[in-house]
């Protein structure tokens, strides 16, 4: 049976601001859900709720039917849901390998002891995200793209069945985006995780995701296949202006 991550009726308020207003979603392991929406529409907040970083004001998050939104963040990771940060947060004074090792050691359901097959797993992740040549560099010395790869690799190393990726392709050159999308697809095919991918770079979302959820001011205004979503008049309106050109296929 494939695992399933679901959120039901999520509301999140910050004082007077309603960042999420009755948002629901569901995805199976092995599938990718794209999450798009204008700035400030609540995408990062939704990932924070899904990953246990923030508690929803109301509504629930379920992993295989088990409620996980009341668990502390580290338990959600160990249960199998890991996220990357919109602005990469590597451990700067640790090497790339150590960064991945930390995640592999602590991220698992039963955190791994030393020895075992830990080193092999770390090597595999480094290879998958193409950071092998940088394994001994301090994370602080990485380029933006490499830092984003490291975020991805660390999330992978936790062994999570669901990854929540916050703008992994933002701030990269078109070549780098193409390359990173390739890496993502290859790794996803090999590892078979489910993912929620937050993205402004439309082309990336459209090529990665089987389904797309569109947020606007905290509300889900559309959901469907990428083709359905880009033709939705409400979505086109939400993306009017410079972004509209990105939406056009």
């Amino acid at each position: 049976m494939t695992a399933r991550l679901a959120a039901k009726g999520i509301v999140k308020r910050f004082g007077g601001v309603t960042a999420l207003d009755d948002v629901s979603l569901a995805l199976d392991q092995g599938t990718v859900l794209g999450l798009i929406g204008p700035n400030g529409s609540g995408k990062t907040t939704l990932l924070n709720v899904l990953s246990g970083t923030m508690r929803p004001t109301s509504g629930g998050v379920f992993l295989d039917g088990q409620r996980i939104d009341r668990l502390p963040g580290y338990r959600v990771v160990r249960a199998g849901v890991a996220k990357t940060h919109q602005i990469p947060k590597p451990f700067p004074g640790l090497t790339v390998r150590e960064n991945v090792l930390v995640a592999a050691t602590f991220g698992g359901r039963a955190p791994m002891r030393e020895g075992a097959d830990l080193p092999e797993q770390v090597e595999r992740i480094l290879r998958l995200v193409e950071l092998e040549p940088r394994a001994h560099a301090f994370a602080s010395a990485l380029t933006v793209q490499e830092k984003k790869r490291l975020e991805f690799g660390r999330a992978l190393a936790t062994g999570a069945r669901f990854l929540l990726l916050d703008e992994t392709f933002a701030g990269l050159s078109p070549d780098e985006v193409r390359n990173s999308v390739e890496v993502f697809q290859r790794v996803q095919a090999e590892v078979g995780f489910g993912a929620v991918v937050v993205e402004h770079v439309m082309r990336a979302v459209l090529s990665l995701a089987q389904r797309v959820l569109v947020l606007e001011e905290g509300r889900a205004i559309a959901e469907g296949t990428p083709q359905e979503v880009v033709r939705d008049p409400g979505v086109i309106e939400a993306y009017l202006g410079s972004e509209a050109t990105n939406v056009a296929p």
Partner: protein
């Protein structure tokens, strides 16, 4: 190092005869830093009684300071949370011993244990509330605690109001010496252990970036709280030994200068390291002994200035700086 070699070899030859083979293998696996610290502690244990009393008494004070340095290192050095109010555990431990000895007539040993337990419990209470605060906010929140404690003990008749609890326990320097020795040895071993392996890696990650550490499955809050409780326990126990050593406990044991001194020791020695607090304790205590005689008011200034200079020019302290610039020496400076 080269000059010391022959002595090391001879000692090693000796130990080879004393220890069975497999035990020696374990000792060797510890590496030079732990061996060095172990040797220092062993020498302290063995030669203590044959030293002149003046030096023996000074060594008790040194080990009290070193225990405090390792204590604040457990929280501030390991996690980066600056425990400005750390002296609150020292004073609490002192009053625990003072009250226990005077009112319940317990043995000073038991008073030290009581001081350790109360220090740990207090750290639990303060930690649950303040460890969720980041950076400067944690420092400020903990800063308030010794100030509050000062006013509480100054106004509590059972704790001697403002005049404290003087004790008359006689001359017990032997017991004091081995009590603080045992505390220090246990704490050095603990520090060594928490910097190793899986736990050590997790703590380093947490010190680097707490959010990222949580996001990869580290139980950040629990690790911080446990380190803080251990830290408070050792500071409390050493505070009790200090009260025993000076035959009394007074509201001034909540003096923030102690906090500053503890911080200075790990900033100078090297935060979060195993060797740093020991070096820091030596370096802070020697001028302390001189200044206290010739220019007592000068001490806070001397400490303040040296901490600022170190922070500006050698941010890793002695151990961190050597590790950075002499990679080959890292084995000796962990």
């Amino acid at each position: 190092m080269t000059i010391l070699r022959p002595t090391f070899l001879r000692l090693r030859a000796m130990s080879l005869r004393i220890l069975p083979g497999h035990a020696w293998g374990k000792v060797r696996a510890l590496g030079p830093t732990a061996q060095g610290l172990g040797l220092v502690l062993a020498v302290l244990a063995v030669v203590g009684p044959v030293l002149p009393v003046a030096i023996f008494v000074l060594l008790i004070l040194f080990m009290i300071y070193a225990t405090w340095a390792y204590s604040i290192n457990l929280i501030t050095g390991m996690t980066g949370y600056v425990s400005f109010g750390h002296v609150v555990f020292v004073g609490t431990g002192g009053y625990a011993l003072g009250y226990g000895v005077k009112v319940w007539n317990i043995a000073p040993f038991a008073g030290v244990a009581l001081g350790g337990v109360l220090g740990a419990v207090l750290a639990l209470v303060i930690g649950v509330v303040t460890l969720r605060l980041r950076g400067a906010y944690f420092a400020i929140a903990t800063l308030v605690t010794p100030l509050a404690a000062f006013y509480i003990v100054s106004g509590t008749p059972a704790l001697g109001d403002g005049s404290g609890l003087p004790m008359n326990l006689g001359f017990q320097i032997g017991s004091q010496y081995y009590t603080i020795w045992a505390l220090l040895a246990a704490e050095v071993a603990l520090t060594w252990w928490v910097t190793r392996g899986r736990l050590g890696l997790g703590i380093r990650a947490l010190r680097e970036d707490e959010d990222a550490a949580r996001a990869v499955g580290i139980s950040v809050s629990r690790v911080k709280l446990i380190l803080y409780i251990l830290s408070g326990g050792f500071a409390g126990a050493a505070g009790a030994v200090f009260a025993w050593y000076v035959s009394g406990v007074f509201p001034d044991s909540f003096n923030l200068l102690f906090s500053l001194t503890m911080l200075a020791m790990i900033i100078i020695g090297g935060m979060g390291t195993v060797l740093g607090p020991m070096l820091g304790a030596v370096i802070v205590l020697i001028p302390h002994q001189i200044l206290i005689r010739i220019l007592p008011q000068g001490e806070p200034i001397a400490i303040g200035v040296s901490v600022i200079l170190i922070a500006l020019f050698l941010p890793g302290g002695i151990v961190g700086t050597i590790r950075q610039y002499v990679p080959d020496a890292r084995r000796y400076f962990e």
